[in-house]
């Protein structure tokens, strides 16, 4: 436990020490004189771009030969089985989601997530059936990366993690914190069944990937720079998750001129 606290403190110190520098670098704005738009963040702080591109290339190959075929195979399973697996994995995440909601001061959401966990784990047969949704207890995602962002921690630099994909310093710290505090991980480790952890991670990756097969293919086939497209998508998606925007009103709005169509 002491080791864990030391590691946590170390990560938080690194995060805060790079925060000022990274925060300033994240906001490289372009002039809006030449086109009709609000001030826009164009550049993402990516000092490791060379290394990141190499890791991205490796991940892309791994995706094409392992993850995508696995996701396509998974999509061929009967839909109740797919839903069941997805629901079961999502249900296991709920205790940490509720904890992060509490850390972000979202008491009502934390209560809803706890309610979801109890209902789905009991009536929903160990989380296989999402009964809670019918009771109006919606699925919401919160993680340590989002919590740190809510506490004012900046993105830090962009990083592509081997197999895990796009991230940044803050979200990577959040991911490590999730791995170390996940009650499921702690339980299976205590029981001497640690093999379940990578299995659970892989199952989650296949389930998530199966939901975006068309979107990833469209992006991959039509990008002049696939790396930059994924990087931008990652930042937009995280920004929306941190701001909890569902209705896209708060997403940056490019004001496109249409006078000369």
């Amino acid at each position: 436990m002491n080791k864990f606290k030391q590691l946590l403190a170390f990560l938080i110190i690194i995060l805060f020490s790079t925060n000022l520098y990274a925060g300033a670098s994240d906001e490289v704005n372009t002039s809006s004189d030449d086109f009709e738009t609000s001030v826009f963040e164009d550049e993402i702080y990516d000092p490791l771009e060379g290394i990141n591109r190499a890791v991205f290339g490796f991940n892309n190959v791994a995706d094409k030969i392992i993850l995508e075929p696995a996701a396509k195979g998974y999509k061929k399973l009967p839909s109740p089985i797919q839903s069941g697996i997805g629901n079961f994995i999502n249900n296991l995440k709920l205790p940490l989601v509720a904890f992060n909601q509490l850390l972000q001061g979202q008491g009502k959401n934390a209560a809803e997530s706890t309610g979801r966990f109890i209902v789905n784990s009991t009536v929903g047969i160990f989380g296989l059936i999402d009964v809670a949704d019918d009771f109006g207890l919606e699925q919401k995602e919160e993680d340590f990366g989002q919590t740190l962002a809510t506490w004012g921690v900046g993105d830090g630099f962009y990083v592509v993690l081997p197999l895990f994909g796009p991230s940044n310093l803050r979200d990577t710290t959040g991911m490590v914190m999730t791995m170390m505090t996940d009650p499921v991980n702690s339980y299976v480790t205590r029981e001497g069944e640690s093999w379940i952890i990578p299995f659970k991670t892989a199952a989650n990756a296949v389930d998530q990937r199966s939901k975006i097969i068309d979107e990833v293919n469209a992006l991959r086939d039509n990008s002049v720079d696939y790396y930059a497209a994924v990087r931008s998508s990652y930042y937009q998606n995280r920004k929306a998750a941190i701001m909890n925007t569902d209705d896209d009103v708060l997403t940056p709005l490019p004001l496109i001129s249409i006078e000369f169509e």
């Binding site: 009709e36 979107e215 002049v224 497209a229 709005l253 496109i256």
Partner: protein
């Protein structure tokens, strides 16, 4: 009395905003159905199918405006002919992107769930839910009215803006050619050819 006047004003105002949004929603549904129809019509040869979709997209997207926005700071330094060529190439690029994305959705059910009118920016935000057996994905269309007709100015899939992503992607590539739109056009031609062949196969 004053309170009631304000109430009536607010009520009328909100109804008029709603009308704007609903009108845009009806227009959008017609245009999306044209694209879906092109995919569902098995008698159409692939080339003709894409031409039909490209035409629908070019007629309804603010292609030139988006092209200019996406080019960022390289726009000002380019000659008139380069800009013209770039806009032509960008419109095809946009059509290939949308066509590729819609191809994946063509056998799924969709519903335009709700629409809002953003009075400040004069933009309608129309949400579309695309359903599959195991869940759904939300797509948001940003639509703007100009000279009595509507134009799509952006498309968001799961909170990710197509236009913002394209701008970031183009900026990254433009950096490698010293922000020369002329040199970038060559890359765009190559990418369009590649995307076109992938779409047809």
């Amino acid at each position: 009395m004053h309170f009631f006047r304000i109430l009536i004003f607010l009520f009328t105002f909100s109804i008029s905003l709603n009308l704007f949004a609903n009108e845009a929603k009806d227009w959008l549904k017609t245009e999306i159905d044209k694209i879906i129809y092109a995919y569902q019509n098995n008698n159409l040869p692939s080339e003709n199918r894409f031409l039909m979709i490209e035409q629908t997209i070019n007629n309804n997207f603010a292609g030139s405006g988006i092209a200019k926005f996406v080019a960022g700071k390289s726009w000002n330094g380019a000659s008139k002919d380069t800009k013209k060529e770039y806009i032509k190439l960008f419109k095809r690029h946009l059509a290939l992107n949308i066509a590729s994305m819609m191809q994946g959705y063509s056998n799924q059910n969709y519903e335009l769930t709700n629409s809002n009118y953003d009075e400040k920016n004069k933009v309608s935000l129309i949400n579309m839910e695309i359903y599959s057996d195991t869940g759904s994905i939300q797509v948001t269309w940003r639509v703007k009215k100009s000279k009595d007709r509507y134009f799509v100015i952006d498309l968001l899939v799961a909170d990710i803006s197509l236009v913002v992503t394209k701008r970031s992607e183009f900026n990254s590539m433009l950096k490698t050619v010293d922000y020369s739109l002329d040199k970038f056009n060559e890359k765009l031609i190559a990418q369009n050819d590649l995307s076109y062949s992938k779409l047809l196969n």
